[in-house]
Amino acid sequence: MTDFTPVSGLLGGVLIGLAVALMLILNGRIAGISGIVGGLLTLKFRETAWRAAFVAGLVLGALAYILVADDASAVQVLAPLPVVVVGGLLVGFGTRLGSGCTSGHGLCGMARFSRRSMVATATFFGVAMLTVFLTHHVL
């Protein structure tokens, strides 16, 4: 379906890791996206500005790549719109209930060898693989 791209994958991964490390050493914070975005919904003045700045940076960084690389296939959503909405609701609710997502649990928590994050990461990867198997090969 998509090509295996280990070099750009590794390079992008290292950049993501550097962003996480920067957030940790400068601000002493976990760069977990669901926590940062979800935190914006409960306005606490001292926390809102840096969260909004991080989210703006996320959009700008990705946009810079899309403009420079002129990569038309950078984002391809294959799911039909009703499924997209259901998926978004589940991702929003689930990441807040489970206290994190791929970045917070997968990159920060796993790096801290947190028991909770290892269990959460194994759970969401396992369930996501099962979901793809069911929707692509069974249904």
């Binding site: 379906m1 290292v14 996480v20 975005v37 960084g61 959503v77 589940l90 689930g94 990159l107």
Partner: protein
């Protein structure tokens, strides 16, 4: 510049690098994420290399940086303190997994891709915010 403004600037820079990394890695593309999750199909192992590359940096970062007395721009480190495996953790991760598998988007790539202006991305992020707000409404007493 006051440290408050510097903290905001640091978050902006971190966000830009994070967004660049997501885009370069290909993980902003749901088709590529599904390609990884679809282990029974035409498997694309790229996501494992992205996680690996990030952990190469984050494992030493989380090992050594918290040994400092404080972060550069703030008074203390804000780290999660919970250690118990409970139902919300596992149930939430499972619910997230279903949504991730259905669309191939998790919060970071979804927000990063907002700049494309694509309708499915806008819809996904809107629905995600509704899901987060629903959680906040239902669990107002729960403190992180």
């Amino acid at each position: 510049m006051a440290s408050g403004a510097l903290r905001v600037l640091a978050a902006l820079v971190s966000g830009v690098i994070f967004g660049l990394g997501l885009a370069i890695s290909g993980m902003m593309n749901p088709a590529k994420v599904i390609g990884f999750l679809d282990v029974a199909g035409d498997w694309d192992p790229t996501l494992a290399f992205v996680m690996g590359g990030a952990l190469l940096v984050t494992i030493p970062a989380f090992r050594f940086i918290p040994k400092r007395t404080r972060p550069v721009l703030d008074k203390e480190f804000s780290m999660p303190t919970k250690n118990s495996l409970d139902a919300p953790l596992i149930g939430g991760a499972a619910i997230f997994g279903v949504g991730w598998g259905l669309v191939g988007l998790c919060p970071g790539p979804a927000v990063a891709a907002l700049g494309t202006g694509l309708v499915p991305i806008l819809l996904f992020v809107a629905a995600m915010l509704v899901g987060m707000a629903a959680h906040a409404r239902l669990f107002t007493n729960s403190k992180e």
